[in-house]
């Protein structure tokens, strides 16, 4: 067979697993502290996401043993991640650049369905006039 690879059977040592677990817990604590108690303005979001990304990398590399696995599986994961990125970025090409028109004020919206919209939804719509733009 073309793929008689034994790479899938690599045994990850206990020490590595414990170290990774400890780092993951440490990173969790770090992300809570930086997000809840340190205000660095617009940087909070990218920082939290970077920490999450780092944690995910650790899990993928060691717990899921991708480091020792058939590279094909890394490629599969990579393609999946690229696809998600494309989905996100290309949708944002639209939603983030739409604002050439102001939004409708809610008076023009009549509920032809006769649906029982409760008060907060109505307010939400009114707010949309200002907020969405």
């Amino acid at each position: 067979m073309a793929h008689d690879s034994h790479s899938g059977h690599h045994i990850v040592s206990q020490r590595v697993l414990i170290t990774v677990f400890a780092s993951l817990v440490a990173l969790t604590v770090l992300t809570v502290i930086t997000a809840q108690f340190v205000d660095i303005g617009v940087l909070n979001l990218p920082l939290a996401l970077s920490i999450a990304g780092l944690k995910a990398m650790l899990v993928v590399t060691f717990f899921m043993a991708l480091k020792y696995d058939n590279p094909m599986n890394s490629l599969i994961l990579g393609i999946g991640v690229i696809c998600v990125t494309v989905f996100l970025v290309f949708t944002l090409f639209d939603t983030a650049f739409r604002g050439d028109m102001p939004n409708v004020d809610s008076q023009t919206i009549s509920d032809t369905e006769g649906r029982n919209l409760n008060q907060e939804a109505r307010e939400a719509r009114e707010e949309s006039a200002g907020a969405q733009h």
Binding site: M101, N103, V104, T108, I109, S110, T112, R125, S128
Partner: protein, 310 residues
């Protein structure tokens, strides 16, 4: 209106049409050339190289690198030309002149409402001046619709809770179709209207005119088409979404709750203003409540019109 267009395209009625038509025909003729080349090759090869002997093994043909490269390079250049051209005219479609005359459009199932800057409104027929850029600011009250005037080559989805816009400058007086091209329910194909292009003077006169001097039944007939009553209620006895108006006045009508009534003026008025009050047996409770805002003149006119349908 008639069929004044070319074989492929409808008549041209706006300043946007000629540019777009030449782009259409440019891509069209390139496509024709490519298509003919492929088809001729297929037919010629199929005849010329047909199998003559069952154990025939043809010689190996090495790929013609030059031909392949050409087949990649030439189409690439062509599509880049087409893209750039389309891109520029697309921007034009999205850049209304600053001095454009602005009309508000509201789409609902299944009609178009227009409000002019001076507060005048119309339904179905959009009256615009010739040789003057007009910008429509559109929204919908229910589901998605799409505003399409084939002769002007413009189309734009109309989205609830959001404004979208479209602009055009009509080049000739006349009447052009407005079609809805985003599926919106039962009478999607009946959601029609017309753009009526008038000279600047006629348009101004129309804008100032009232409806006071019309006879009630005449005004009612106008409302019947303008408000798209005709989409759901025929006057010739045909069964549409709602009951026909033919012979309605004085008819004994049975409702879904089992009661009956003779259709008189009050019943008709109630049915327009509060359509859910009595539902005629065998018909869905589908009439929109948007007509509750009719004033007494309009209601009288409609009742007078319906009375005449015998």
């Amino acid at each position: 209106m008639g069929d004044k267009g070319t074989f492929w395209l409808p008549e041209s009625g706006s300043t946007l049409s000629p540019g777009l038509d030449s782009l259409f025909y440019f891509t069209y003729w390139i496509s024709v050339v490519i298509f003919v080349a492929v088809t001729v090759a297929v037919i010629v090869f199929a005849i010329k190289y047909r199998r003559r002997n069952d154990s025939d093994i043809p010689p190996i043909v090495h790929e013609n690198k030059l031909l392949e490269t050409a087949w990649i390079v030439v189409p690439t250049i062509l599509v880049l030309i087409v893209f750039t051209w389309g891109f520029r005219s697309f921007l034009k479609l999205h850049s209304p002149p600053a001095n454009a005359y602005e009309i508000q459009v509201t789409a609902k199932q299944w009609l178009w409402d227009y409000t002019y800057p001076n507060g005048k409104t119309s339904t179905g027929d959009l009256v615009v001046p010739v040789d003057r850029p007009v910008r429509l600011v559109m929204t919908s009250t229910d589901v998605l619709h799409s505003f399409f005037v084939p002769a002007f080559r413009v189309k734009q989805d109309v989205v609830p809770n959001r404004y979208s816009s479209v602009w055009f400058e009509a080049t000739g007086q006349g009447e052009y179709h407005i079609l809805c091209t985003e599926y919106c329910g039962t009478q999607h194909s009946g959601m029609l209207g017309s753009v009526i292009v008038q000279s600047a003077e006629d348009f101004d006169a129309w804008l100032q005119s009232g409806v006071e001097d019309m006879a009630p039944a005449e005004y009612g007939a106008l409302l019947y088409t303008q408000q798209n009553c005709n989409v759901c209620h025929s006057v010739d006895g045909t069964r549409l979404v709602g009951p026909t108006l033919l012979g309605l006045f004085g008819r004994q009508t049975t409702f879904t709750d089992g009661t009956t009534a003779v259709a008189d003026e009050n019943y008709i008025m109630e049915s327009i203003v509060n359509p859910m009050a009595k539902i005629v047996e065998g018909y869905p409770p589908g009439m929109p409540t948007i007509y509750s805002s009719f004033d007494s003149d309009q209601l009288n006119a409609l009742v007078a019109f319906i009375k005449e349908q015998q």
